[in-house]
Symmetry: D3
Subunit: 138 residues, 6 copies
């Protein structure tokens, strides 16, 4: 049964975060493999795998929470990427962050906006470089 939870979680983890899922679990391997397991099984297996809310909404909710916390820029960027991966648009991400100014204050919103800017730029650059890779491979 553990295996079922784990498998379900692992699939969801990868669906949202792509290769970052594996990198995250790997990064915890030598210090606390159980934390990687708990993230996989509890966060992604028990929570994100639930029906009731689609993944786009779930990613936006997570961004809202991380903007409000204001102290986890690594996870915020990672979930902004995850949001883009499951089809949330850039404009929607900007809207989520803007709304948080009301509840978490302007510094939280501004720092989150700068984080989103970095993620978006990084995506553009990769797209650009893969396009030119395509071009130069012709």
């Amino acid at each position: 049964m553990k295996d079922e939870r784990h498998e379900k979680g692992w699939k969801k983890f990868q669906e949202i975060h792509g290769p970052v899922a594996k990198a995250t679990v790997e990064s915890l391997k030598d210090i606390s493999p159980e934390l990687g397991r708990f993230v996989t099984e509890f966060a992604f297996g028990d929570i994100y795998s639930r029906p009731g809310l689609d993944l786009k909404t779930r990613q936006m909710l997570t961004i809202a929470s991380l903007v409000t916390l204001g102290n986890a820029p690594l996870q915020l960027k990672s979930h902004i990427k995850g949001a883009l991966n499951v089809g949330v648009t850039k404009q929607q991400i900007v809207e989520v962050i803007l709304q948080m100014a009301v509840y978490a204050g302007f510094p939280a919103a501004m720092n989150a906006m700068y984080a989103a800017k970095e993620v978006f730029k990084d995506r553009e650059r990769r797209k650009g470089s893969s396009k030119s890779a395509v071009r130069s491979s012709k």
Copy 2:
């Protein structure tokens, strides 16, 4: 122009919170009417009136933020009611709160769940009493 922002915000404030909108502004009148004005104009006029996200999503995001803050039970309950008002289902509200356990911890999620329970019960009671009012008026 201030009047336009104000009107737009006031309309949105009432659309989400119903008679609570007026009660909120009234409750601030003798201490800081400008805070009531800023809530109306900035929160509801500038932010909630933006397109890009529907009101249901906005209310869920606000609940996510308030669960994460963990220190504004009054506003949390008020926005759970607001969420119900604009069509978010009870089950969706429960899902939002459950997901927050991952980011804000279990105490935040549990206290939010108790808050939701109170709001839901209160709604049931009112419905019940209005039904019996209907019945007894027959």
Copy 3:
């Protein structure tokens, strides 16, 4: 396997919190039974059941965390009781709270001390009343 995690967690939950364990799960039954299940399985099954730290230390750590959060008085009181249940002394609980003044500030420490005071008084009263119950039953 789920049953094993659940059973292990449920046993630990009761070992620490006594009859409050059941009351907590019951209180969530009609709104979100899964939250009660997650608390039981993840918090108490996955975490508190781990070796490596004895229960006294774990309860003191939880108190430290809840004092620092500062926004979950219900859980703080519940874990102060839990700490007493597993053998942490009143003086040790006071020490934990005092130390938090350094990291979480004085308001957090003072509010936690008032919470501890309430819990301790309540215990005294119960002991007192059970003693007089014993006496009057003679």
Copy 4:
């Protein structure tokens, strides 16, 4: 020397909080007299007794911090009273709270405003009743 720090702190504590100083220290006596001592000696003896900022400014800063924390309503009310005691005006307190909406968000500002409203009302009532006491004693 401890006595000197203690005395200096105790004087400052009373200057700001009046009879609440004694009540606070008393309320901690049976659970943790050292916390009362640390508040007196460190907070009021080491910090508030420093030159460099006048007491009015210090009280406004403390209110700003407590509004931002958002989880210590008891201390917030107590320091709003303290601010009034040392000559900060009601309007200045309202301004401090309003400004915090920008940094700590609207829920924090609104709850603080309601706390201020309670304190102000309570003052009015006492003044009113002491006036009528004066009148009736004539």
Copy 5:
């Protein structure tokens, strides 16, 4: 009227932050120009432009809030600079941060002190280099 609010806010923004005002708004232009607009209009137009508190006090309050939040070092540094710009002395800034140790804890106070140290050093260096620039231009 929007233009009036905007203009008023923009003037105040520049009065406090100098060329950083423009840099901030520019940095948000390609991701969320409305966030730059809201900062200008709400934070600086609606709040900082209010009478009732002088700018020195307002900057000290903002520093108090940002030290307490503890998760916005960028904004903290920016407002320490802003405080110096409007005439708050270095010693007063140090006093504000010291006082926050009581409410937000020592880690928050220490990190803020290190941030202030950086800002002060940077100022010294610039003054130094502009002096030597003057000298070498002779």
Copy 6:
């Protein structure tokens, strides 16, 4: 008497943090020597020097608090080192951090685990280099 508190605190500060104690006080010298003094006298003299809890437990409690705060990575790393210095094992530190996932959420726990990983690696490296230094000095 101040000297006694200071001496007691300074001894405890060094016992836990080794040469970092001096470095910390030095780093504050030119901006706020009093903050270094307060840390020494209040945190280490008044609090850590108290009996009632051994230093290992105190360091674990501090780690719990700093993981929960989530915004003081510098102090978190410093206290993880301090914990190792007074005999807390790596596995115990990992356990403390794991437990915090329940109360402070997964992002807080993950960032703390990465911080611990860095500290542990750094220790290994130093041990390794001192061993090879021993070897090469033979």
